[in-house]
Amino acid sequence: MIFRVPHLPIVLASLLANGVFAATPVPAPVAAMTNTFITCSNGSTWSPTNAIFRGGVRVFDAQLYLECEHLDIYYPSNNNPNAAAAGRTDAPSVGNITAIVAQTNLLMMLNGATIIGDRALYWPTNDMIQVMGEIVVIETEKAYFYGTNFTFNRRSMQMDSEGPSTLESKPGVGLLEGTNAPSGAPKPPRTRNPGPTTPGKTSP
């Protein structure tokens, strides 16, 4: 017995239109992660002015990974009764963070830098990060910084150090190389032993 399909193209077209043979759906473009996840193991306290996280704190953010033992996040309380009563619009809006303080066994990984210290403060209002400790180690792509008190301005990408500090370049990296080096800066001496040369062709 043979079944005849009189208008096969029309049937196929209608099936396609109904989505039976629909093509593989194109995945939606992945949006940049804007959420921040904070986990801790020894509990947390919320109050109208700040949130405290205790014990094994980990912060996962698109621009930051942070580990510490104690984390405080301060935000405007919006509890200023005078501003609220007067209907002022310049009162700080709920949701803006005013300061972040991370303490004890601090490990911070930012874009291009890994920081180890005892205490870090971040002020979103002026985009400044301050890291303090008995010894603060900052590892960048080219060098290690050792010190006790570093202040980093994220807006101007400028870092200041207070107190004793040491800069150590990574092996094989010239700190004065690159586009930011002044024109008259001395170049690092060339090594006496050049790198391995390509061997000459051998005749078969």
């Binding site: 306290t45 109050s47 109208p48 621009q63 709920v94």
Partner: protein, 173 residues
């Protein structure tokens, strides 16, 4: 005769003891009556029990009176003999002085002490604050104080900020 006198003396003694015992007993009954009555009341059950908390006058401006600071709602509550309330489906709302909701905390069950206005549990608590941008949850117990407006979650806590804690890096102008 002597026997009759002894019997009468014994009866008088018994009367005296009875009188001596009756007076304190009556006083005790009068004193304890409200307590007994209250304890009977505390075994009651209820639904939609609301405990409001108001701002102190010092915090408020002159025009405002009785501004609501927080409100704890128990969908079902049972007064326990020890003065606590065992509540199910707890919701705690906190308000700013201008009337905006600052925080909403939910728990499936909790104990509430009306004397010091504190709620606690060994179970789950979920906090939503900052217009939904701050979500905090813990599964291993919490304590909430209405008076101090603090919420403490025990042990493992997971928090989501629906925003980056750091400002995005923008190119210099």
């Amino acid at each position: 005769m002597i026997l009759k006198r002894m019997k009468a003396h014994r009866q008088q003694d018994a009367h005296g003891w009875c009188q001596a015992l009756t007076l304190p007993a009556m006083v005790a009954l009068i004193v304890m009556a409200p307590v007994v009555h209250a304890q009977l009341n505390r075994t009651a059950r209820g639904r939609n029990i609301v405990f409001p908390e108001y701002y102190e006058k010092a915090v408020l401006s002159r025009q405002q009176t009785n501004q609501l600071k927080g409100r704890l709602t128990l969908l079902e509550g049972e007064y326990l003999p020890n003065g606590l309330i065992l509540g199910k489906t707890m919701q705690l709302d906190q308000y700013t002085p201008d009337g905006h909701t600052n925080l909403v905390a939910r728990a499936p069950e909790c104990l509430f002490n009306p004397t010091n206005r504190a709620a606690w549990s060994t179970g789950r608590l979920e906090i939503v604050a900052m217009d939904g941008r701050f979500i905090m949850s813990g599964n291993e117990g919490f304590e909430a104080s209405l008076t101090n407006t603090t919420l403490t979650l025990s042990n493992r806590v997971r928090t989501v900020f629906k925003q980056s804690v750091m400002k995005p890096l923008s190119p210099l102008p």
